[in-house]
Amino acid sequence: MRRIRLLPLVLELAWTGLVSLGGGRAAYFYDSLVVRRGWVSSDQFVQDLTLCQILPGPNFSNLAVALGYRLGGWAGAAWGLVAILLPGASILLALAMLYAAGAFSPSAGALMHGMGAAVVGLVIVATGKMVRASLRGSRAVVVATLTFLAVGPLAVNTAIVIAVMAVVSAWLHWAAPPPASAGSGR
């Protein structure tokens, strides 16, 4: 397991949490930890992402905890959670106070629509990098495509899809395991 010193790790997670506006937050983590820092590989990232989608809880905090643990152990996990929660929670608390004072009423205006649209571009680019780096072999492509179709266009419940596809994928990978020699890298 690669260990990163706690301070740079927490700062990176906090910064990523602070700048991840407009949805699609996993893509921000991918961009910062895989593409820019190179602290985790694309494969490791995808594994943590899947783990976080299986486990209950908000995905974004789960992802910060899983990546924090991978890079910094228990302390990395705990401080990772604090790092992504504290800035946003403080801002939202301030906004809630202003709201309670009747200072304003929010509207999801043109600014937010534009930010959301730009994040679509970011998520597509991150997904493309992930496909190139982590999908190997036709079986994996089939599983990824089926998962995408079920959760995306067909809008099937995500938990059900993961449960079914995990069995299908395990069966496919067991039925014809890749040619693995002793001590091979992956």
């Binding site: 893509a27 929670a89 959301g116 067991w174």
Partner: protein
């Protein structure tokens, strides 16, 4: 009479604790319903915090969710808003702890055990099986986000332009996203 007074004072002391525990417990329960993409939990959260406990009104819940979308960090931070409306700063803290801490501990414990199993052949096979599912989920996330965020020519053009910029330049995402917000704001006004 004195005994009654003491009892009443006791109730007054205990009641806030019960209120905070109810708040934390409700969000703890809701956090375990966030499986695979958190948005699925919103309808149930609305039922709990609006209809059942009356912590916020319908309108306040929608406004709170909008604010959480405008705020960096997890969108489930909407619980800070609801908690604050219910019981002030202590309520905000109780709600946040209930929503995020137990599931985070679970994730860390699973990650820990998974880390020590990782080098076994079975674990490698499981990881190999899970990887394409994760990629498919990421692609589905892109699909869902595109469906809600791209709804006219302007947002379509912004998404396409952002995609090209992300491919061609190594700008930090936040710069591109804020610029896109500015462009959209100018185009909309």
């Amino acid at each position: 009479m004195a005994a009654l007074g003491r009892a009443a004072a006791g109730v007054r002391r205990v009641r806030p604790v019960i209120a905070l525990a109810t708040l934390a417990g409700t969000f703890l329960w809701l956090s375990f319903l966030c499986v695979g993409g958190g948005l699925g939990v919103l309808p149930e959260m609305q039922r709990q915090v609006v209809d059942r406990h009356h912590w916020v009104t319908d309108r306040e819940f929608v406004d709170g969710y909008t604010l959480s979308q405008l705020t960096p960090g997890p969108s489930m931070l909407v619980v800070v808003f609801v908690g604050f409306r219910a019981h002030g700063i202590a309520g905000a803290m109780a709600a946040t702890l209930g929503m995020f801490v137990p599931t985070s501990v679970l994730t860390a414990v699973v990650a820990h055990h998974w880390g020590s199993l990782r080098d076994r052949p079975l674990a490698r096979a499981v990881e190999r099986a899970l990887t394409p599912i994760g990629v498919g989920l990421m692609a589905a996330g892109a699909w869902t986000l595109a469906r809600s965020a791209v709804h006219d020519v302007v947002s379509g053009a912004i998404a396409a332009a952002a995609l090209v910029v992300f491919l061609a330049l190594r700008l930090p995402p936040i710069v591109v996203v804020l610029a896109a917000g500015g462009v959209s704001w100018l185009a909309g006004s």
